[in-house]
């Protein structure tokens, strides 16, 4: 299964929930926003959404800093 994640091609063995995919990357789901195929996904939907072939995913990390 091929996805595009943050502008890069990614190959996965099979369907996986958005939450499992994100946590598998070591990303805290509470510290990101996720856009799937051009739409921001509500955090409550991370468990029920399954990634599938051709999906375009953007994982946007929360950044506090402007750096003082």
């Amino acid at each position: 299964m091929n996805l595009r994640v943050n502008g890069k091609d990614v190959e996965l063995p099979g369907p996986i929930s958005l939450l499992d995919y994100i946590t598998g990357l070591g990303v805290d789901p509470r510290a990101v926003a996720v856009e799937l195929n051009g739409e921001i996904v509500a955090r409550e939907s991370y468990t029920e959404l399954t990634l599938s072939e051709g999906d375009r995913l953007e994982i946007v990390r929360m950044v506090g800093g402007g750096c003082r």
Partner: protein, 286 residues
Amino acid sequence: MPLAPFTPDQVQRYARHLILPEVGGAGQRKLLNTSVLLLGAGGLGSPAALYLAAAGVGRLGIVDFDDVDASNLQRQILHGVADLGRPKVDSAEEAIRAINPDVEVVKHSLHLNSENALDVFRPYDVIVDGTDNFPTRYLSNDAAFFRAKPLVHGAIFRFEGQMTMFEAAKGTGCYRCLFPTPPPPGAVASCAEAGVFGVLPGIIGSMMAFETIKLVLGIGETLVGRLLIFEGYDMSFRRVNLRRDPRCPLCGDEPSVKGLIDYENFCGVTAAEPSVSLAPAELAAR
């Protein structure tokens, strides 16, 4: 109000703007009559302030409570060696005046908080957010919404920068539509903990000035509704679409946030966390 003609100095200074059809005399006058509030005179605020001043934005307010520290000089180009230990608003004012004496600088030497934010924002046309912590991010987002001010948002981390613009009172969505809740305390490293590539704020802060000026002039396509992500490590840009979330607690259909709240409590942290720094020997060993 009758328009004062440009002085000969101004005609020379702004010649490259005046000749651009998208700016011209009317646009330059607009800039001179515009006031912009910069939140933070640090990494992002430095290039933003210098370019806004050079462009002839008439009044620049600067909110910052910090003094210049040696660890700032790697990226905060408003400040120099002679400014170490001085309030950042003071060195910022000098740097701005040195570039363009047309610009009036208003120094706000304070911690922005729920008590003062609405008053501080009131006299400005645009708010430029280059702050360094989540409580202030949410505070400036909410205060800009309540004051119906455009908010130019920039953030940096290691080699990555993000920037966008919200006009939440016009229904564009806001920071909370993208990030409804702050990350759990400790889940996101600060720049002091994780480092930041020194040129990065130069790029993001300059783009913040760029977008601010476009917004004032009403030209081109702004970043409203889009978050731009700059990945400096491989020199790529990506864009994420943003829109108003009808369930947003601030700008949604049934808002629960109806005034400024306690943002430190909301974020589970203190706004003025001491920066985590390694001892010089530890740093040098890295």
